[in-house]
């Protein structure tokens, strides 16, 4: 795990050997998803095997980075004090065009403007020298 710059005090993802290509993709401003070479289904979060057919061979595929808001909430009280500066903020599940769902924040959107099923696109946020977070903004 890398040392975070002192100004970033929120939890920082710790990539595993399995998930590292996902995080490397974000650094390169791409959403990359694992896809099973056997049953051809997309898999997210990254796993060392396909949970649908147990095949251990998966490939990394560049995704469009586009999707829709499956559901969202406005967090008005932070549980972790490091998020207090952001309240109220949007916390959402986004369904990507490839069919998988990811948890993320919606940014560049006022809380009152957020809608379920709203089209969104990827937004990349460098938080450390190594880690870039995937967030979404209205498309």
């Amino acid at each position: 795990m890398s040392e975070a710059p002192p100004e970033y005090r929120k939890p920082i993802p710790a990539p595993s050997a399995v998930s590292r290509p996902f995080w490397e993709g974000l650094r390169a401003r791409e959403v990359r998803l694992p896809r099973c070479l056997e049953c051809r289904r997309y898999v997210f979060y990254p796993r060392r095997l396909c949970p649908f057919c147990l095949c251990e061979r998966l490939e990394w595929v560049r995704a469009s980075g586009r999707g829709t808001v499956y559901s969202y909430t406005v967090v008005r009280r932070a549980m972790n004090p490091a998020f207090q500066e952001d309240v109220p903020y949007l916390f959402a599940i986004v369904e990507l065009e490839e069919g998988v769902r990811v948890t993320a924040n919606i940014v560049r959107c006022r809380p009152e403007d957020a809608r379920v099923d709203m089209p969104v696109k990827a937004s990349y946020h460098d938080i450390t020298a190594e880690i870039t977070l995937l967030k979404f903004q209205p498309a």
Partner: protein, 392 residues
Amino acid sequence: MTLKRSAAITGIGEMRPSRSPDGKSTLGIWTEVAREAILDAGLTTPEIDGLLVAPPITEQAAMWPSILGEYLNIHPGYGNVVDLGGASACGMVWRAAAAIQSGLCRAVLCVTGEASDVETFYAPRAPRARRPVQQLPYREFEVPYGPMGVNSGYALIAMRHMHEHGTTGRQLAKIAVDQRTNACANPDALYYGKQITVDDVLASPLVVDPLHLLEIVRPCTGGAAIVVVAPDLAGAAPRAPVWLLGAAEASRGIMLSQFDTITTSPIAICAPRALEMAGVAHGDIDLISVYDCYTITVLITLEDAGFCPKGKGGPFVEEHDLTYAGDLPLNTHGGQLSFGQPGLAGGMSHVTEAVRQLQGRAGKRQVRDCELAFVNGNGGIMSEQVSLVLGT
């Protein structure tokens, strides 16, 4: 194979919830409610030969059954931690019955409880500095985005349910109001004597949209225990035994992003199985005692358990009086929303209340001619589910 009438609950013990521990420890609370339940069942500690405990949320230790067994001088032939979150209590009931039916034991003590308050419950439990972050998927793919514990998860469910089915804030608020009416008939409830209205709920602060403060359970201190016994012991118990008539369990993962749908829960799988095992229909049920960490939990439980069609939970709770004197008595102790949520003992409160009602000792809030109860335990973010049918 069936668990129908394989075992009965013959004793309950429950501590009155309090806002803070006031010097009590979790282990101390466990022994207090365990003692009460064993005495209520008319048993002595050497007769307890099974021990199930639920792990506290805010404290960690290994081998909880051994710790508690030693303290109480109980030496079980069957011991386990039941780790189903809020569904642990209901999960204990059928596990106890299955162990009894298999001949492993005859009297199982099931214990839940926690010395906790709002501050300790919501205190951030960040991994210690210089230690590797645990490689758990939710730490890597959810926590960096600032979820508010499970609150934000239930908010996502409520928001999507409103979108799919037109459910309104007023409909959800009605659940909190009716349960508060019940709590006002229960002197042990944390919010006894504090009636609220739908407007009060909607005027309380939004915490995680669309959920308001009065729709969110309050962590507190408390505990509850039950004793589950074999049929021959049930016959000799001082009180009328409460029989397990039906049970089923269903679960799915832990992260909402992994579920096919977040507005239908695994209750849709386990509730029909439990009712079928009991051989009863929805109309036969006299008491609904179901997990209510949030208003939306109750609404979805009523739909998925089949008390109303999917998506019609909103109009359904508006059309029915959910109070102890109403046409559809639900969470007559106040539910966890108004009784309090003492860790995983919150889930046990739905079992103990069903036992009280079925034994006719619910006092002012007694439901008339109460013979059959539907009980549901819910863990995680509507992921772990255990449905029970209890009866006289």
